[in-house]
Symmetry: C2
DNA sequence: GATCCTATGTATAAGGA
DNA sequence: TTCCTTATACATAGGAT
């Protein structure tokens, strides 16, 4: 039973990893389907395993292509609201990260990771521990993503 | 607080629907990220709302395109294992559905829905109730999907 | 392996601010 | 609105078979 909080890093055990991949992608598809019906949204999900496994796709290959094409054909300006210009957003990211570092101190691990991030930013040195690095990378992605969204909102 | 079990159908209330879309797609992205790191998988998710809203994308537009392209470039035979030839799979589906209808009688609603499905298949008549229809449609999709997978496995 | 089970962790619908 | 909170529903890791 879900005894452990399962760390967010690569699962070494082969069978466990494949099992997780299967279960989680199944649920990913289910959730995508739910969003689609609940909100009348178009959703598509693709998941590739490591080996030569057949990728999971939702809702179907054809629809996925159609949905992605719609995205591709969007005006560049609108796209940038989500993806943002790499260069300019980087500057903003650093500034925003400082605030982010100070905010939300309710959770211990959050604070710890954020501290590591901040430390890495101002001193240029990184933790030697590979696990800390992994956690940091993940957290960073999340933060950048939420920042991107906020920025997108502001620029609207 | 999650008081209700929220029926799996279009949410009429505009703000509730948008809220749900936002929250759920956010989580969809998060989950996709988790699968990616846990299983070293390539995953991408696209979600479009109804209006002219900016679509949510994970992990990024460029990566999504790359991932979908990989799928597009797969040999046709391998793809068919997932999507299957529409015509031939339909015949199999009907046969398989019969078994499915009889199996898994543990859950009341499942049995009910499946009975409705079976009934619809052999008699040609559909329930007049729109909610039953909706539920049936949803269930049917799920069943077809799982059947498709099983068939894919068998044909490997 | 493939299911099924179930204790626990996570997502999220309603509410409140 | 958007951001919290919180009670409940759901997902899922680890076992059992």
């Amino acid at each position: 039973m879900a005894r452990k909080k399962v760390a967010l890093r690569y699962i070494r055990n082969d069978s466990a990893r494949q099992n997780t991949l299967k279960k989680r992608s199944k649920n990913l598809m289910k959730k995508a389907g739910e969003v689609a019906t609940l909100c009348n949204a178009k959703a598509c999900v693709l998941v590739y395993g490591e080996g030569g496994t057949v990728p999971e796709v939702f809702p179907s290959h054809a629809e996925a292509v159609a949905i992605l094409n719609r995205f591709k054909s969007m005006p560049e300006v609108a796209r940038l609201k989500k993806t943002m210009d790499q260069e300019s957003v980087l500057t903003q990211r650093v500034a925003k990260l400082r605030d982010q570092v100070q905010k939300t101190r309710c959770e211990r691990q959050d604070r710890e990771t954020k501290f590591l991030l901040h430390d890495a930013m101002v001193s240029g040195r990184l933790p030697g521990n590979i696990e800390e690095l992994t956690t940091m990378g993940w957290k960073l992605e999340l933060m950048l993503k939420s920042l991107g969204k906020r920025i997108a909102k502001m620029s609207r």
